[in-house]
């Protein structure tokens, strides 16, 4: 299709960027597919990625030098030739996204769970990065 840019989505993107500008809770905005949330639960760093209509076999996860890379392929939802496409908004093709994880993590304990099109990755923080409670004796 010639006209690939949806002006409404572009406006929405600007709105989101503006909102993020004033949202002190959000430090960084990255771009590209898939949309992710990254947050700190104290002992773990958790990442949510929205990957609807994708099977887990089509997703690759790797972790190197503090960077988590999510890559894969979005296949068309309907591949049956008997169907004629009337409207097609979902884009397909390969994607790759790299996120820097701000804490040292226990690499061999990284786990992932995929449910309802949402991939949740749990990265346990290394012992030295975990929050510690320090007892101070008052004499």
């Amino acid at each position: 299709m010639f006209w690939q840019v949806d002006p409404r989505r572009e406006l929405e993107r600007i709105r989101r960027d503006m909102d993020n500008l004033f949202d002190t809770n959000t430090r960084t905005v990255s771009r590209g597919y898939p949309p992710i949330n990254v947050y700190d639960t104290g002992n773990d760093i958790k990442l949510h990625a929205e990957l609807p209509g994708i099977t887990k076999d089509d997703i690759n996860l790797s972790f190197t030098d503090g960077n988590l890379t999510l890559s894969g392929k979005r296949k068309p939802l309907v591949e049956d030739e008997k169907y004629t496409i009337i409207r097609n908004e979902r884009s397909t093709g390969e994607f790759e996204k790299t996120v820097n994880i701000p804490y040292p993590v226990v690499q061999d304990k990284i786990s992932a769970d995929f449910k309802n099109g949402v991939l949740t990755i749990t990265l346990p923080k290394a012992e030295e990065a975990k929050p510690k409670k320090i007892e101070v004796n008052i004499s």
Binding site: S30, P52, L77, N88, V99, V118
Partner: protein, 151 residues
């Protein structure tokens, strides 16, 4: 920023009117009539929709990751399928320190024009892998052609 737009402007044309006066209604008709899609609630959680058809049915597929089935509402009116719902954010996530927040949450409403020749009573929907699939069987079209005999 969306809040800057008077909220009644953002109403679709099928919504209840808030302005009671005739002039107000007329004004609303002018605005919503000019470019209806512009007045639908715009949200980044607006699901992407694919529509396809074959001889027997239409198939509508919407990307709705991380939603529970009971939070989706489907309605049919004059050839248009409405997908309404709410995407809830996990409480755990909300309260914690965030580094990235690109996924959006809240309510969404998406209207998908399909066509009049649909048997809504036989429509089926399923939710799998974050994708909502709605199958809308076409009405069996009886030929409208009648042969008129000439006496």
């Amino acid at each position: 920023m969306k809040n800057l737009i008077p909220w009644n402007w953002r109403l679709g044309k099928n919504k209840t009117r808030t302005t009671g006066t005739e002039v107000g209604n007329l004004w609303e008709d002018v605005w919503t009539g000019m470019w209806p899609s512009l007045w639908e609630p715009v949200s980044s959680s607006l699901p992407s929709v694919d529509v396809s058809e074959n001889k027997k049915e239409y198939s509508v597929r919407a990307e709705l990751p991380g939603i529970s089935e009971k939070d989706i509402e489907l309605t049919w009116q004059e050839g248009v399928l409405s997908i309404k719902g709410e995407k809830k954010e996990e409480k755990e996530e909300k309260s914690k320190n965030r580094y990235y927040k690109e996924c959006s949450y809240g309510s969404f409403h998406r209207s998908v024009p399909v066509g009049d020749n649909v048997e809504w009573a036989k429509a089926k929907a399923k939710y799998k892998k974050g994708v909502l699939s709605v199958t809308l069987p076409k009405k069996e079209s009886k030929s409208n052609k009648t042969v008129i005999e000439i006496n």
